[in-house]
Subunit: 244 residues, 2 copies
């Protein structure tokens, strides 16, 4: 909306993050489509884009002041994550809200994958990664948990980060990919699943339990702690869920 069509700036992209230099050599070249992808992902992950909302290609392009081409590319990647759906010739839409059944399926899948991740992560845990996990739990404890949306965004972000770190700690690229296929949905559920932040105290305790189990180095314990956590999340969500 700001600076809408202020003039053609074709090809003059040497001042944004493209040619980012650090220490004298280019480190992480990035193209516009990557930027758009991250922007859209952030909007989806923190709830700015609500389920069911249309994501217009041209509209997004105008908003970000780019051409539709990189937006198409970014959305094509996002489609494969399940966070947006596409209908040919009709465009993209944020995936609809979770039904009760969707939620049950998601929890079933988490229960199949996340305890295994905890077990594998435990047997390969490095001190550095353990520190990162401790930091995530600390952030979880210290994050504000007010009633408004923005108030517990940090809490949700720390929650997602904790689980994602465990997936990465497995050192298994395919388990990371499998969790990633769920991760976005998990986060979306946290935002729009109906269950609020009321279970924070319990959830924090369970995360601490998982972390403790990982610290002991006993893979079986870690697996059990994670399974326990996921099951309790499911139980609380069912209890809190609205009538429909």
């Amino acid at each position: 909306m700001q600076k809408a069509s202020n003039g053609p700036r074709a090809g003059s992209r040497s001042d944004d993050q493209t040619g980012d230099r650090r220490g004298g050599r280019t480190v992480n070249r990035q193209v516009l489509a990557d930027h758009v992808y991250e922007e859209l992902l952030a909007s989806l992950m923190d709830g700015r884009l609500e389920p069911g909302a249309a994501v217009s290609i041209d509209g997004t392009a105008r908003e970000l002041d780019v051409s539709p081409t990189p937006v198409r590319e970014a959305l094509a990647r996002l489609e494969h994550t399940g966070m947006v759906r596409r209908v040919a010739l009709k465009g993209y839409r944020v995936a609809p809200v979770f039904t009760r059944e969707d939620f049950a399926e998601l929890m079933e899948a988490r229960l199949a994958i996340e305890p295994v991740n905890a077990r594998l992560a435990c047997s390969r845990l490095t001190p550095e990664r353990l520190a990162e996990l401790e930091e995530a739990v600390a952030d979880l404890k210290s994050a504000p948990r007010g009633p408004s949306f923005a108030d517990y965004k940090d809490y949700l972000e720390a929650d997602e980060r904790f689980h994602q770190l465990i997936a990465k700690q497995t050192g298994n690229q395919f388990m990371v990919a499998a969790y990633a296929a769920l991760g976005g949905q998990v986060q979306r559920f946290r935002l729009f699943g109906g269950v609020g932040i009321t279970d924070a105290e319990n959830a924090i305790a369970e995360h601490q339990s998982v972390l403790d189990a990982l610290s002991t180095g006993d893979p079986e314990k870690a697996e059990a702690a994670m399974a326990d956590h996921v099951q309790k999340v499911r139980a609380r969500a069912i209890a809190d869920a609205p009538a429909d």
Copy 2:
């Protein structure tokens, strides 16, 4: 290569599969990017595109006689499957061959996911799906298994179909997504993992065992049979693997 640049046909796409009509109303509208995606996926799945090969955007566009735009979109989707990798400003490349470690990780992930799929599928098995599974196993048995590449393509296709059907039979969209995150890699490993078709007899017997276990309706048996199958595949592959 054939019919290279025979002339501009801009906007005349009312004769290909776009406006496909059946019974009077349009049923499944398809855009060019979908066609390109399927074309590339087929090339990857049956080995026409070998690991490490460059996949040029412009080149593919010329070959399929379309513009680069839909090719970009198709490749963006494929990137998220892990079958092609992208480097900014350098283009796409078919994912490299499996190392021993990659193979171990893939089998670890399959062992975490596929037995669960078998268990879930078993408890929700419908006669129609069971028939499809039986057909896949029958195709597995009847498929030619010659020494040349094209000779056992059908065999590999039936193998992939069997596992994918079980994933779908879970009725859990997230388990399907998780398997899909692996599925492409599994197929690629079958093609280029070094292990040939020597284990066909054993593998067929194991697939039959999985099918039998599913037929009994005992989820525990199905899970065990699938775990046994994956573990034996791993064992055979390790035994057959070349020195490096």
